[in-house]
């Protein structure tokens, strides 16, 4: 459930196909995941999982895999 929700956040925020939302996908590795899209992604994750991310975690969220690790800190299981 949460994994699907996570992928949906990436798809909506970055405007990409869900097939490319895999652990290895990294920030700035594709044109769609730039700094502006990153903040859109953060807003989407916060709204979907009802959390408020720390600034350090926003900066550290450098890949899909890292996003999963960070979300676990906020008791979101993906």
């Amino acid at each position: 459930m949460s994994l699907n929700a996570l992928v949906e956040c990436f798809v909506e925020a970055l405007g990409v196909d869900e097939k490319i939302v895999v652990d290895d996908l990294e920030y700035n590795s594709i044109a769609q995941w730039d700094s502006v899209a990153h903040m859109t992604l953060i807003a989407a994750l916060e709204e979907r999982f009802d959390i408020m991310l720390d600034t350090d975690d926003i900066i550290d969220m450098s890949s899909v895999a890292k996003a999963k690790v960070i979300l676990k800190k906020y008791e979101v299981t993906v």
Partner: protein
Amino acid sequence: MLLQDKVAIVTGATRGIGLTIATQLCKQGALVFINGRDEIKVAEVVDKLTNEGFLAESFVCDVADADSVKNAFRLFLKKSKKLDVLVNNAGILDDALIGMVTKKQIENTFTVNTFSVLYMSQYASRIMSRNKSGSIVNIASIIGTNGNRGQAVYGGSKAAVIGITKSLAKELAATGIRVNAVAPGFIDTDMARSITEDVFAERVSSVAMKRIGTPEEIAGTVTYLSSYLSEYVTGQVIGVDGGMLI
């Protein structure tokens, strides 16, 4: 009403211009979160507004402390899932000639007047971006635009607020968030009434309209910038100073 169903946060809202702004936003139908450091004073203002039939909630934190701001926004999200308006009003004035300014005065002034605007805007803009709309109104000062003798620190801190306003306006426009500033001139507050009669008269004489401004006149411009009436206005600094020359 201009702000029906809107949710606003006003910092430094337990007294003075902040309280007047909060009250005026309430009168326009907004649910207003009252910010202050003192939980009891915030509760008193919330109770007063609620008893008058307005919608008000507390937002207790020290806006100069990033962790305190973060915790306040976490609590805010338990009460409201959206934010339409942020008014960064909290500020301090601690004047001294440049040779007599202490490091502590400099740090305190910039932390409260400037850093707080960044801390608050960071969290507020993330919540506002969910709805692709919002208005941030920063209270600057005529000292920030024109400068004044003995006010290098205060003027610098308020000039920085103007720089923040213009930069954020450009950055956040794509997410539908407008950012503007109000630059008050000589306004009738406890601080203005605490100066000597001679200085008071001198200040009034420098105002083209030959009178002191009221907190309500600041709140009126803030209300305009908070509402749909200004929906194509961003990155602006509006002087509310009666044509003051400084």
